[in-house]
């Protein structure tokens, strides 16, 4: 691989890793809340959280751009404290995180839903506070759902294009990821280069998906053993 390619791959993986780590705490919290909350508003929150999955990614990117642009409501505040997001590597992370968030929440939520709440009740009678019971019983039992969700989110972030291109642009060496580079080289008629990058992207995706599958099987074996 040329230095160019190495830099591109490293940047893409780094973005996906950081985006996944950033959404992990709020994603797990949201998943747990959705799994346990039985009151009103559940369906609404559920739907809003699912929107990035079904909206055109460019629409999500546009919303982010409007919010964070220099004249946007959030952008103005950030500008005042000297932080610029749009067309920076941070914007790539942000776009990937937003697009990956619903995948994490969905998988983690089904993990939490499989945990019998009565196990938590038993943990309480054995002296656990609600927080302790969460970390000793709920999370270990929902762990597979959370981990699979994180891997799905990571895979999604690896290939993010539509939202990223709007809010971060396609700046080689600054905001360009693998999927953005494939697009650029195709546009320029450099099909061989584009295909080479596509091959690398496929390899990365393969590893991530294979890890997800392996995780599912391994975890299932241990609990039944």
């Amino acid at each position: 691989m040329t230095d160019d390619t190495t830099g591109l791959v490293l940047f893409t993986v780094k973005v996906a890793v950081v985006a996944t780590l950033i959404i992990l705490p709020p994603g797990v919290a949201a998943a747990y809340a959705l799994a346990r909350w039985r009151g009103p508003g559940r369906g609404f929150v559920d739907t809003v959280l699912a929107l990035p999955l079904v909206l055109p990614p460019t629409a999500v990117g546009l919303v982010l751009l409007e919010l964070l642009g220099r004249n946007g409501p959030l952008g103005r505040i950030l500008d005042a404290v000297g932080v610029e997001v749009v067309f920076t590597p941070g914007a790539v992370v942000l776009a990937s995180a937003v697009m990956a968030f619903p995948l994490l929440v969905r998988s983690a939520r089904s993990g939490f839903e499989e945990v019998d709440p009565r196990l938590v009740a038993v943990a309480r009678t054995l002296g656990d506070t609600p927080a302790r019971a969460f970390f000793r019983v709920t999370l270990p039992l929902a762990w597979r759902g959370v981990a699979v969700g994180a891997l799905l989110a990571f895979s999604r972030a690896l290939g993010e294009f539509g939202a990223t291109v709007l809010v971060a642009g396609n700046i080689p060496g600054r905001t360009q990821t693998l999927s953005l580079a494939i697009f650029q080289h195709t546009q320029l008629g450099q099909d061989a280069r584009a295909l080479q990058l596509a091959g690398i992207a496929a390899l990365l995706a393969f590893v991530a998906v294979y890890a997800t599958e392996g995780l599912t099987r391994w975890r299932g074996r241990r609990v039944r053993a």
Binding site: V122, R124, L126, G127
Partner: protein
């Protein structure tokens, strides 16, 4: 205390002193809800709950301790072991630095040694119940709350858990509240009983009184396959044979068990339909146990079927017979009768 439920409100106002209390009643009479209120797992309960002098709930004073502060040893019906932890990790779950732990004692008492490193998925129903009991016991609880610990098991498994419950009661010295709908179980385990019907206390007091004849009507068809459960110390008879000494005035011939040393505590079950009831003294019968007692109650339990409760030296026996026999023999409260029990009808619970 009181707790609004879907069909009725659970209203319990009772003071229990016994080391082991059976809570009985039909399905849906509020038994499990009562345990959950005591364990602090049901929000919305009003009133006052005091266990061993400690106030757990006092809605007037706005006291409502969290489950983790109550020190209740809760054993749910289906054991609910933590599936991601080994048996040993389950038992140790509630043990904390700086608090008295009874882990080793619980493991020994319930004989968990051989299964400590196994995961719950590989344990039988009876083994799971034993681990769940040990897990509760290991936290040194102020009170054990047992929710039908034998109900989910089939009869052979039940026989293997009951003796452990007796050991927990007698050796661990932790008071227990025991939900069941089996009269036989309640009679052998409990010193006191609480009978619930639609969330209200129908009767409470010494088990021998509460679990007499009148209890059966409230427990409905559960009387099917009813057993008399007797517990006592084994005695060797020099001429051969084994006897179970239940009380001062009551000993039974049981199937010979030379492998058990004299003095061993054991429990035996005698099915209510395997007992012969006679109005006069019996002689020349093959049954070696002939016991004299007084009828304390007779009632119908189904089409043409009746159950007589007989007091023998302070123990209650249930005998199944037909309604025709009840009429023809004149079986009625106060009448003196003799019961014949074949040695082979006494089955050891182990």
């Amino acid at each position: 205390m009181s707790l609004p439920l879907a069909r009725f409100a659970l209203e319990v106002d009772v003071r229990l002193e016994g080391a082991s209390v059976a809570v009985m009643g039909r399905s849906g009479s509020g038994k499990t809800s009562l345990l959950e209120v005591l364990a602090g797992l049901r929000r919305g309960a009003r009133g006052r709950v005091v266990v061993g002098g400690r106030v757990l709930l006092d809605s007037a004073a706005r006291v409502d301790l969290a489950p983790e502060a109550r020190r209740m040893g809760y054993v749910p019906q289906d054991a609910l072991l933590f599936p991601h932890l080994t048996a040993e990790q389950n038992v140790r779950y509630g043990a904390r630095a700086g608090r008295p732990s009874r882990v080793d004692e619980a493991v020994a008492l319930l004989e968990l040694g051989p299964m400590l490193h196994r995961y719950p998925a590989t344990l039988s129903g009876g083994e799971k119940q034993r681990v769940a009991l040990a897990r509760a016991l290991a936290t040194d609880p102020a009170l054990l709350l047992l929710d039908e610990p034998l109900a989910a098991l089939d009869v052979t498994l039940k026989e293997r858990v009951l003796p452990y419950l007796l050991r927990v009661r007698d050796e661990a010295r932790v008071p227990m509240l025991y939900v069941t709908h089996q009269l036989g179980e309640a009679r052998v385990l409990a010193k006191e009983a609480l009978l619930l019907e639609d969330g209200r206390v129908r009767a409470a007091g010494p088990a021998s009184e509460v679990l007499g004849a009148s209890a059966r009507g409230l427990l409905a068809s559960e009387a099917e396959g009813e057993e008399n459960i007797l517990e006592g110390a084994l005695e060797r008879v020099p001429e051969g044979g084994t006897r179970l000494r239940v009380t001062e005035g009551l000993s039974l011939w049981v199937p010979d068990a030379p492998e058990l040393p004299p003095g061993t505590r054991a429990a035996y079950a005698v099915p209510a339909e395997d007992i012969l009831l006679s109005m006069g003294p019996l002689s020349g019968v093959s049954a070696r146990n002939v016991l004299a007692g007084n009828v304390v109650g007779v009632e119908r339990v189904g089409a043409g079927e009746a159950a007589a409760t007989v007091d023998i030296a302070g123990t209650r026996w249930v005998v199944r017979l037909t309604e025709a026999s009840v009429r023809e023999l004149g079986v009625a409260p106060g009448v003196r009768v003799h019961l014949a029990v074949k040695t082979s009808a006494c089955r050891r619970l182990r």
